[in-house]
Symmetry: C2
Subunit: 76 residues, 2 copies
């Protein structure tokens, strides 16, 4: 099964949401990507429809923007 | 264990997020509240920190605002 991807940028809002999301979703069903340290993935996230972080891109392609830490533009 | 509460208002953004969230979280760990039809719960949601719907209030008290359907003010 395709995994969900949780994109974040290490901000306090992101870290808090990450902990909550990882408590909700079985750990083997989600990949965590830190866009602050993996700059090359910003484009990938944007192509998936991510407009801000933290965001969860689901296996079905839907994007859940969870609270607001930073706009994707700020991470480029 | 205290359950999470998913607040929504029946809007398309809410319904889409609801389906995604219910796919992620075991069904018995979340209560779904439709603020459009349960107006009395708007105040309860606001007291919990909900600023817009759809939103998921977790058992630990954290609020995850997921995408944006409507501001809580619009539901009063």
């Amino acid at each position: 099964m395709k995994k969900a991807i949780f994109y974040h940028a290490g901000c306090p809002v992101c870290v808090s949401a990450e902990q909550d999301i990882l408590n909700l979703i079985p750990r083997d069903q989600v990949t965590v990507v830190h866009l602050g340290s993996e700059k090359l993935k910003v484009q990938e996230a944007e192509a998936a429809g991510v407009q801000s972080v933290p965001a969860l891109v689901l296996a079905n392609g839907n994007v859940l923007h969870i609270n607001f830490g930073a706009a994707i533009e700020e991470l480029k």
